[in-house]
């Protein structure tokens, strides 16, 4: 309960310091600090990250979602091949999925050519990869729970009973 409460706050705003989290939860600052340390040490909190709207920066980049069909080798399972693919810095996320394909990755590169070559040279060449489908991302509307478009302003009256 204490943990979930702290995690919910940090997930929304990793910049909140322990004194404010203490104020918001009613726990002591010391307890909050201890808990956060525990959460970090145990790997429950993996990393503190910002959600950035790169389109606004004007940066040229390309995102692609790539789906892979995998033929498992004799002695290795999905984890082995997934770990291998995950090690490429171009790969932003990788998931084992149900359906027509087995693995789904998101890849970021500087250009379409960049991404296409990465897939052709680094991914498609792996023994276990049977086939690939590449979807280039045209626009991101929501990232990790955060909408990247303007929200309507509140229409509440300033005073109401």
């Amino acid at each position: 309960m204490v943990m979930n409460e702290i995690l919910e706050i940090i997930e929304q705003d990793p910049k909140k310091d322990p004194s404010e989290i203490a104020l918001l939860t009613g726990y002591s600052e010391k307890e909050v600090q201890t808990r956060i340390k525990e959460l970090e040490d145990s790997g429950i909190i993996r990393k503190y990250k910002a959600v950035i709207d790169w389109d606004r920066v004007g940066e040229e980049y390309v995102y692609a979602i790539i789906e892979l069909k995998i033929t498992l080798g004799d002695r290795s399972g999905y984890d082995t091949i997934a770990h291998r693919i995950a090690s490429f810095s171009e790969v932003r996320s990788i998931r084992l999925i149900s359906g027509d394909h087995d693995l789904s990755l998101t890849v970021r590169g500087q250009s379409m050519k960049d991404v296409a070559f990465f897939v052709a040279e680094k991914i498609a060449t792996l023994d276990q990869v049977q086939s690939t489908v590449t979807h280039f991302v045209l626009k991101t509307y929501k990232e990790d729970g955060v909408p990247l478009f303007e929200q309507e302003k509140s229409r509440r009256l300033a005073i109401s009973p």
């Binding site: 919910e8 104020l23 918001l24 509440r156 009256l157 300033a158 005073i159 109401s160 009973p161």
Partner: protein
Amino acid sequence: MTYVKKFLSDKIKTVPPSGIRKYFDMVIGMDDVISLGVGEPDFVTPWHIREACIYSLEKGFTSYTSNSGLIELREAISDSFHNDYGVDYNPEDQVLVTTGVSEAADLALRAVVNPGDEVILHEPCYVSYKPSIILSGGTPVPVSTTRDNEFRVSGEQIEAAVTDRTKAIILSYPNNPTGAVMQKQDLEEVADVVMEHDLLVISDEVYDKLTYNGKHTCFSSLNGMEDRTILLNGLSKSHAMTGLRVGYAMGPPGLISAMLLIHQYTMLCAPITAQMGAIEALQNGEAEMQAMVREYNRRRRLFVTGLNRLGLDCFEPRGAFYAFPSVESTGMTSSQFAEELLHQQKVAVVPGEVFGQCGDGFLRCSYASSLDELKTALEKIEEFLS
């Protein structure tokens, strides 16, 4: 202007104007006001509920519903009370869907009050009870609650207000404007008086889902109270649906049918679009509601601690989304404080006396605003006080 006034009924002339109106007029036209004066959630209705409304329009649900409301909605309401409080209301004849809780309160009063009947209400309280009692032909008998008793009303106080003409008591906990709650034993005291004097209770529990550190007790769940309670509730606060106007009343069939009679000749039915949204809210809205409650709780802690640090003494409100600090330490009256704060710092609050004379000296501050807004508001109040 003076000429047409002769057409007015004698009754309407006795209804006092709403004290909140003055502050509303003051804020109108001011830009960048940080408002703590709002009696509604800052959250927009969760999307799945809005989508259910939109979808219902697409499918052509634009007709009247049964006067009592859609049976699916009444069933969902009935189920939720069974699950939350173990109280059972038959959706066929014990649940009436209304256009907001305000309508339900009006119906309840009009259904039971005879001219001259007295209705006890505890103040400070929501602004519409007193006028509704007057409009129903009754006489409001206010009982003052105090900071010392954390704005709870005691059985003793009610006992002292009872006369031969007392018909009913309006209870409203968790309370707007104070944020006060009543524990089970507090309510049992009231129930004893109700039983002894053969009274009816109209219990407005619209903030029941917004309680912190302890679960709400539904008044009709108390021993012997089911037949003596008209329970009022709605989805405005719990599911951030204020403008959609869905409330409901539950009670003994004999009383609900009388309320239905007035409702069918006046309102006819609650809007179908909102009723469709309400079904979705009750069936699938628990997770988002709980997330909102957790967020209110954080804001509550931050804000109440902040007020106390500034010397605005504030008891711990355990329900709704209001803090009710005292301005005694400032030497100002609450209306002076509210007006000056608005003009100097553009922070809107509502003086407590708007909710009854005994609210004088206090402010109603709604913490249904973002953490950032609340922090800014506290900074501005600090500047105002220095």
